[in-house]
Symmetry: C2
Subunit: 358 residues, 2 copies
């Protein structure tokens, strides 16, 4: 088992945990290393559930904050081991996981080891299987096995947010929109009914759709309604009797999932629609007193998070949650994934100053 030294700098911890590959499903070596490293710190109660590790202080503080990060990555694509690179004169760490989201996790590990006397009690959570199907998600599994561990007044998820605070997240809905017709030989097309032609208004309405921007708790969430897949056809000489358009609707956290379904049904009125995936968004929760203190302490301008993240799981449990981590989210999953070293230390400094304040 590779040993992990949490006394190193957060940059060096980032590099160390990136160089222990942990593609979803293969997190055990990294989880083992984290679990072993945390054993050195008697101020932490360490709990393990599969490859999810929880470490918490029990100082009897008036408030508790949950701070979480996932330890898995999407597949490696010749971008490990990490290396240091300069981009526009600025030093970066390059490689799989540097952005999504081992730099954020590294900062959390360092602070977990170091902050023996924080101003609030802290429940640190590092979990597996974030990058794959929701039913495998380690944080969701932990919530089923140990819901008690989620008792908190505020939560911070270390997902990449460019070192800014990104509040809440949009919800997401996927649906299959179907047309049907009647097969016929394409030499006698008038004897059939073309299901692909019948999908024309679906694409036209999606192309013409102007997504809304909705302000929620002071942050403007940009929505999106898109075809992400289309499929139809039987053979090169057959009028097709079936066409499927899969649409993805990203909806502002002020809408309920039911409202999101109604909206899609309204835009695509007249078509058969089957909802196949539906996750509520999360309101930014920036009106919570702890959230306001946090934003003030780290000196960041809050922004909306567009992508769905596990902040929604905290939100669903009634815990206001934000994203705060190093790295440009648009480089997540990218083959040239890389994080500016200065953002790693800035996020470390931001979290440290807030958690240590008297």
């Amino acid at each position: 088992m590779p040993a992990l030294d949490l006394q190193q700098s957060s940059v060096d911890i980032t590099r160390a945990i990136c160089d222990i590959p942990s593609v979803s499903g293969e997190e055990t070596p990294l989880a083992d290393a984290i679990f072993a490293a945390l054993g050195e710190y008697p101020h932490l109660e360490v709990i393990r559930d599969g490859d999810t590790i929880v470490a918490r202080t029990n100082l009897g503080r008036a408030q508790r904050v949950a701070i979480a990060g996932h330890i898995d990555t999407v597949p490696i694509n010749a971008n490990l081991p990490t290396r240091f690179v300069d981009v526009d004169g600025e030093p970066h760490l390059w490689g799989r996981g540097t952005v999504d989201m081992k730099a954020g996790t590294a900062v959390q590990l360092k602070l977990a080891a170091e902050l023996t006397d924080p101003r609030v009690d802290i429940t640190w959570m590092w979990y597996d299987h974030e990058e794959v199907a929701a039913d495998l998600n380690g944080l969701a599994r932990l919530a089923r096995h140990r819901p008690d561990l989620f008792a908190a007044d505020f939560a911070i998820l270390g997902e990449p947010s460019d070192g800014q605070v990104e509040g809440g997240c949009n919800g997401t809905l996927r649906a299959i929109v179907r047309t049907t017709g009647m097969r016929a030989h394409s030499a006698r097309a008038w004897m059939g009914e073309n299901a692909i032609h019948r999908a024309a208004p679906i694409l036209a309405r999606l192309a013409d759709h102007r997504p809304r921007e909705i302000v929620v708790d002071g942050l403007a969430y940009r929505e999106g309604l898109n075809a992400v897949r289309i499929e139809g056809g039987v053979a090169g000489n057959v009028i097709p009797d079936r066409c499927e358009v899969e649409v993805n609707y990203r909806f502002a956290p002020s809408r309920t999932p039911e409202e999101a379904v109604a909206y899609v049904r309204d835009v695509l009125d007249g078509f058969e629609i089957e909802v196949v995936d539906l996750s509520a968004g999360a309101r930014p929760g920036l009106d919570a007193p702890l959230a306001q203190e946090f934003v003030a302490a780290v000196g960041a301008e809050p922004r909306p998070k567009y992508g769905w993240t596990d902040v929604a799981r905290f939100s669903a449990l009634g815990v206001p949650a934000v994203n705060y981590g190093p790295g440009d989210p648009s480089l997540a999953h990218h083959d040239e994934e890389r994080v500016p070293l200065a953002q790693i230390t800035a996020v470390e400094q931001g979290l440290r100053s807030w958690l240590s304040a008297p």
Copy 2:
């Protein structure tokens, strides 16, 4: 090898050759049976090229007619062996191949054996691989190996035409119409460009397109322009950067293939188009004197053939050609494929009376 008796009735020969399965690629047992049966008839010169059998008279007649049929079928779908059924009180032979086109081939085999003294010389052709890719087609292969065998003044293809004479055939073109865009995470759709949305005008133009009817040599050919396949998409959370629509254009035989390409490019102007398949149609050729005599003799009202058939191969070689065979073409490839017995004997009688006339 199953023995084939050409002294039976044409209905019994139909049944016998249907019950020797011959899905494309597996024609050898049937070709063997036909080849052996023809050996009994010294008035025929019999030639074999793979699983294609040619039998011809060499009587020194002033004119020669080619009469052809394919011996393969589309796959069997629990519709063999054949059986006799009544439909609306009318006796039918039911099963794979009865319509497309072993009834037509059976009539030809019977007459080849029987007509020792026809008014014209006859080149009978029974060929393999009609139901699959054009480059496997037995008639096309024979034209490459023995172009001399195609010398004729008129040709009759026994494809199902409901016992009527169907002249010529429409041409067919298949093309891929492509749109491109730019991938992005669907949570930040505005950073990408949706290639599926860009296909909206393609489907709208196809749905709005009104196919023309074009009179060629007195027969009205109905055209058709249809999407037969559509495909696009990367993943449920990615804005797609590519969409493909496969279109099939069936065009009247008065248009050249080049004109057909220009027409599709005009209808779908502004889109990237790749032609992947293009076959000229065949004019009905009913102005040829032999064709006029034939139509008069069989007492049929000529109609246009919509589907592409091998008459186009004769037409391309300068031989006017028509389709004349028993069976409803809309039941070809159908699981309930079945032919009225009366049509088999009527087509036999039609061909016999014309070929035997003094």
